[in-house]
Every structure is written in structure tokens, then in C-alpha cells.
Symmetry: C2
Subunit: 240 residues, 2 copies
Amino acid sequence: MLSLYHYEPSANSMKPLLCLAEKGLDYESHYIDLHNFEQHSPEFVAVNPNGQVPVLIHDGAVINESTVINEYLDEVFPDVRLVPENPVERAQMRIWSKFVDEYFCPALSRIGWSLLIPKIAARLKAGELEEALKKIPLEEQRQKWLTAATESFTEEELAEARRKVTVSIERMEGILAERKWLAGNEYSLADVNSYSMVVAVPRLVPEAMSEEKTPHSMAWLDKMNARPAVQAALATARQA
Amino acid sequence: MLSLYHYEPSANSMKPLLCLAEKGLDYESHYIDLHNFEQHSPEFVAVNPNGQVPVLIHDGAVINESTVINEYLDEVFPDVRLVPENPVERAQMRIWSKFVDEYFCPALSRIGWSLLIPKIAARLKAGELEEALKKIPLEEQRQKWLTAATESFTEEELAEARRKVTVSIERMEGILAERKWLAGNEYSLADVNSYSMVVAVPRLVPEAMSEEKTPHSMAWLDKMNARPAVQAALATARQA
């Protein structure tokens, strides 16, 4: 049996939710409320010592890292293939997914955090933030929370994050001017792994993405929004 | 035919060099001299617009990103398998390789750069550094060069990098206390992708790794050093 620990269908949680929906796989849903710090609770840290969602459990095996979860799902449940047969397209799928994980997502995440975390912190009582921070297992995550919640990111840091998001969408636009999907002519995990990030860009970094400036990326986003699996993933997760 | 653009058998260049040696594959070697900025030359940027080694060329397909190159080589030349058959071990291989790319390698690289780049910059004539920096295609790389060459990293940044290297080796030690190799009971790309980083730790961050503190990691390093393919990769590349 499959279990997935996840948050809302956004950011990294959306990646396996969408993969599961594309493959039509049933799973036991464990909703982890990040606004209430459930990802740092002893119960969840026992599942993933990093205190991060998503986490997949399959026949007792615990797999974290959303990009790795999706390749695992494709190998173990190959009826609907989301990894191209062609090894070069497969490499392109992995190079793009790696770029999303290492460059695009961290930049976009910084902007999202700068808006979200102060709101979460503002509704905590005195001392509650300190208590919450103490439970974060990864030092880097603790620092990121502390910065976002107290001193906030600097305008220079946010400008750099916006620049990186713009570079990311420019790179996407260049690929989609030449290929139908992000890894080649087939829909693949490169697309699955990008949706939740790209869909947030018009709202968070409007100067990076528009019909005029990045028509191929906008058309890709329209095609993604129209996919039944995208709609299903969004709906299923909200019910969870 | 296979061609590999690479630097010395260290850091990311060593990863495909070792993979090729394990598989006994012949390839055309293109040595790129990072000390003379050949990675930023117009000829090489035409091959990889990022201006970074290694790059694999196979039947006209250009594949960058050392971790992706190695999975590609395993899929296209499967006679000697370096990706486990078991999907869970395969996921563990990818999770570890991702950790090396995103956490361990950047931290170790900062320490290496802090020692190396000032030496490269010191032997340049006035104006040559500025000219060299202008040719770097990636903004992030240009900033890293500029910081390393002129103002240097701060002691706080270097201490944080040493902390992350220590965390990385502790994580490795925890894995190797339970498994024979980094992804499970089989030697895999998780090991191939780690060698060039781990072998540098006793010299660059001696407090992170020792017979007393991390015996499993030291034993792993001994086993790696004894592999004929490791010796072959080191020797072949130096002749290039």
C-alpha cells in the first residue's frame, strides 16, 4: 500500500500528488499542516528526520525528496509512463528537474516565504515562535524560519530571488520554443515537477511571465491547467 | 562515439571519469584547463552555455550535469550495472546523490575555492581578472569568482561550510553503519558520485573525518581507493 504525507497541492507536495493522479493510483493521505508546525512534530520527525514533506511510504519503504519519489512511482507503477523511453529525453527530464530543485524552486520559495512566514509568526503568542523554532531538525531550515519570521529577507535578497525566477522562466521559454514538453515531445516528470512552481509565478513575480514576454510558457501553463490529473490533484488534496 | 569534456579527476569531473572507468568504456578526452579559464572560452561555451565541466557528447547528444551523465551512461551501456535493480535502493542512490549535489559538494567547494581561487587570481596581471570574469556566462558563478578572488569568503561563511561538511560525513557514517555501500548492499552511482568529494575531506576539513570519529566512512574510502577503476580514472585523466 501507498501512503503520502503531504501539505496543500502546492510547491513540493504537489509533485507526487500530481504524479499519483496522472497514474490513477490510490493512496492513504496524511495531511501535514505546515501552518501549525506539524512537520516538526515528534510523530512526523519519526517518519522523516528532516521534518519536511512530502514523504512516500510504500510497503514499509520510506522515500523522501519529491523528485526521487516521482521516479520511484514511475518505476514501480509503470502502466502510465511519465519517464521518456529515449535516454536523451530522460536525461533532459532529469537536468530540468534538477534545475527546478536547485535554482528555480529555492528562488521562488524565498519570495513565497517572505510573504507567508511573517503572517504565521504574527499570530503566535510571545514565546511560541521560539518554541516552534527549537523543534526544527535541520539547522538551515531553522535559520530560514528565523530570518523570514523576525528580520525578514533584505530587499537585495528578494531582488536576487526575483532575478533567478526570471532566469528560470527564460530558460523554460527557450526550451518550449524548441520542444512540445519540457523534456522533449512527450509529457514527462519534467512537466509534473514544474507545474506547482510555474503556476505561482504570474502572481509572485509578474514581471517574469506574460503572454507577450513568454508565450510558450503561458501556453504550457494553460495546457497543464486543462489536464484532468492537475484538476484532480488540486481537488483531492484540498479534501484531505 | 563518446566524448567527455572534463578537468582533473577531482570534484564533478571525477564523477563521469570514474563511471566510464568502472564500465570500461573508451571515450575521446577533452581536457579543459580551469586554471586558464578554458571553461569560459567561446569554443567551450558553444558546447555548454553554462561554461561548466563535465559535459558528455554521445552520438551528437550533449549532456551536462555529472549526476545525470552517470545515470545516462548506465542506461545506454548497461553491461556493468551501477544502478541497483531494487527500486528502493535506486531511490536511496538518488537521494544520496542529490544530497551530495545540493549540500555536501557546495559546502566543500566553498572551502576548496577559498584556497584555490586567490592563487589563480594572484598570478594574473592587472586587468586580467576583470577580463576573465566578464566571460563567465552564469551570474552566480561570476559572483562566486569575484568573492573568492577579491574579498574572499568571510570566516563565518567558511565555518558554516565546515559545519555542513561535518554534517555530510556524519550522515554518511550513519548510512554506512547500516549498509555496505551508500545505496544499499551493492556498489552504485551513490558511491561513484561521492568519491571525489569524500577523498578531499581529510585534507580540507580534518575535524570532520577520522578513524576514531567516522570509522565506517574511513573504511569506505579505503575500499574506494583500492578499486582498480578509481586508480585508472585518476591515472587516465592526469595523462589527458
